[in-house]
Symmetry: C2
Subunit: 361 residues, 2 copies
């Protein structure tokens, strides 16, 4: 936890990391993913290299085709010569092995490309811990020099909120059948999405779902969405000056980003070009509106909080005598002579925290 | 956090709680849900009254009909004169207001019954915190004297793992359409489910999904499931001695609980009686196998951990100078002169934790 004293081991790792050696990146990721000793030294050391990558979060229910969409997006970014890093936090992802054969073959075509780096993360352990660590893995990819970092995560709900906070742009992927439960999910979806994509849109129900989503988006704004019309059919070849101006106008008009609802068939590539254009447009919006630096700030704050909480847990349970006290107390917890709260109070007391000392300052 | 010094306020609240006043229960729940000062005193005080209620978790994707199923289950428990407490942690739940009208009317019929208590919980804030607090709300319902506590939670994934840990029996509700994504979800589902229910089983695909689930359950066991055949068509009117023996036999034979796959149409009540019988059977299994007391132990441990972590966070961010240090450090984080990890180290240092003192003991 003391970033000033890098171990010789990590110094060498960092050197090779900065030289752009993929094996060093892989080792750094393992270090962070498993929160092995010294992992925070590495994250500390690379902090000043952050902020170059554009981070895109892809989330949605299992079976929505997120991995195919991720692959197709990656291909399109590669075609523009962007280097793409992918973090998949998804038990259903082909990246993590829970895949259908076809998907896995599609992925493999990516993994031979030196401009692509794919890392899947297991979903074991506490979700909070996982979400944080996956963000820090994204930091590594950013610092390593990838232009684009894609975070693929399963589900739509509270867990995705955390993950969405780490992305610059969050794409929520649905399928026509999601219509059934859309009413249900609306609060969570609205908070997370910068862009909606209805994938597998060749199936029945896609148009209906698109309309439902648009109605919900209107309702959220409380009135008509001035920029909504302009968002469909905009065709940008690259993020040039015109696009910048247009995004500026859109932001000015609506006072924010009007969340577009796109349709795609990721298997055939249909709608993918429009998605890429939308992502470009959102990137411009983030910059001109000042939201990008706000999101960066929020990210720094979240990282710091997570690091503090992680270290306090370590002190209580690994360094301190928390485990021992708890094990000894089990009979009393069972009999009702103690409660989890009286045992917890003892563990915290034993830890010797002196908050009063700080209060007095 | 010091459970020995109950405030006079809480003493009166606890008195009325123990007299069985519903307004006191409601106030205690609000206290816990919002983690207001003194909430742990209340939880400490009721700890010795825990363990009488049977806790059933109902989880599954949005739109699976969990709320209808919960309502129908509650009606059946009421018919046997059990008192039922419901905690709904679900943005899609009619209990929390995201409802279709029909569902809401159905719920309302419950809420006029004095033998039923329904509490919905918002899904704001960190998931970890929420999952813990919802468990502690379930503790309150248990201590208050409900025979049955139902925890309804949305989604199937890592977040549900936490919540499932708090239930004695976890029911995973799917719909025939879930088949598409079942392959994807299997790891998570298998870990969570004690019972599968395919709801809306009058729609096409129910039998296919049931077969798929059963194949997956077989694969998990690595061989044939000896007790599986016996689990279908068992008809118990009540949990009597015969049932107890049968569950004992089932546990002995299979060395565990063979997860049944049931079908239901909650709207019409079809399959609900079988679900109730299965829950009874699982309750007996938990007791005779010793798993019930193991689950209780795990719950005590989790509560203690959560209380310690919560208190350490409070000390760092509310009592200590964490917020102040972090706010002051933002320019340095931005410029790259500091990292979240060096700032976190400072915050922990300022907190005055003395883990070395404990290590030496």
């Amino acid at each position: 936890m003391v970033p000033s004293s890098e171990s010789p081991n990590n110094t060498e790792l960092l050197e090779r990391f900065r030289e752009g050696q993929r094996t060093a990146l892989a080792r750094a990721i393992s270090l962070v993913e498993n929160t092995r000793p010294g992992f925070e030294d590495v994250l500390h050391a690379i902090h000043s290299d952050l902020g170059r990558a554009t981070r895109v979060g892809i989330t949605g229910p299992p079976g929505a085709g997120k991995s195919t969409l991720t692959t197709e997006l990656a291909n399109r970014f590669r075609a523009r010569d962007e280097r793409v890093g992918i973090v998949a936090v998804d038990p259903s992802s082909p990246f993590t092995g829970g895949a259908l054969l076809g998907d896995r073959i599609r992925m493999n075509s990516l993994s031979t490309d030196p401009g692509i780096f794919i890392r899947s993360m297991a979903t074991r352990g506490s979700l909070g811990g996982l979400a944080t660590t996956s963000q820090e893995v994204a930091d590594l990819l950013d610092a390593f020099g990838f232009d684009r970092v894609i975070l693929e995560t399963v589900g739509v709900g509270q867990s995705e909120l955390d993950i969405a906070e780490g992305a610059d742009t969050t794409v929520v992927v649905l399928v026509p059948e999601s219509g059934d439960s859309i009413q249900a999910m609306k609060a969570g979806l609205m908070e997370v999405a910068d862009v909606f994509v209805i994938n597998k849109a060749d199936r029945p129900g896609a148009d209906r779902l698109a309309r439902e989503l648009e109605v919900m988006l209107h309702m959220r704004l409380g009135e008509t969405q001035p920029a909504a019309a302009g968002h469909h059919g905009v065709s940008l070849r690259s993020v040039g000056r015109a696009a910048r101006n247009r995004a500026q106008e859109a932001a000015d008009e609506s006072g924010g980003w009007a969340i577009p609802v796109l349709k795609s068939v990721a298997n055939t590539g249909e709608g993918l070009d429009e998605l890429v254009q939308t992502l470009d447009r959102h990137a411009v919006y983030l910059e001109v509106s000042g939201e990008l630096s706000q999101r960066r700030h929020r990210r720094f704050i979240e990282r710091t909080r997570a690091a503090v909480d992680r270290e306090l847990k370590r002190l209580a349970w690994k360094v301190g005598s928390g485990e021992e006290i708890l094990a000894d107390a089990l009979p009393e917890l069972e009999s009702g002579r103690e409660s989890p709260y009286s045992v917890a109070a003892r563990i915290v007391r034993e830890l010797g925290v002196r908050p009063e000392a700080n209060e007095g300052r």
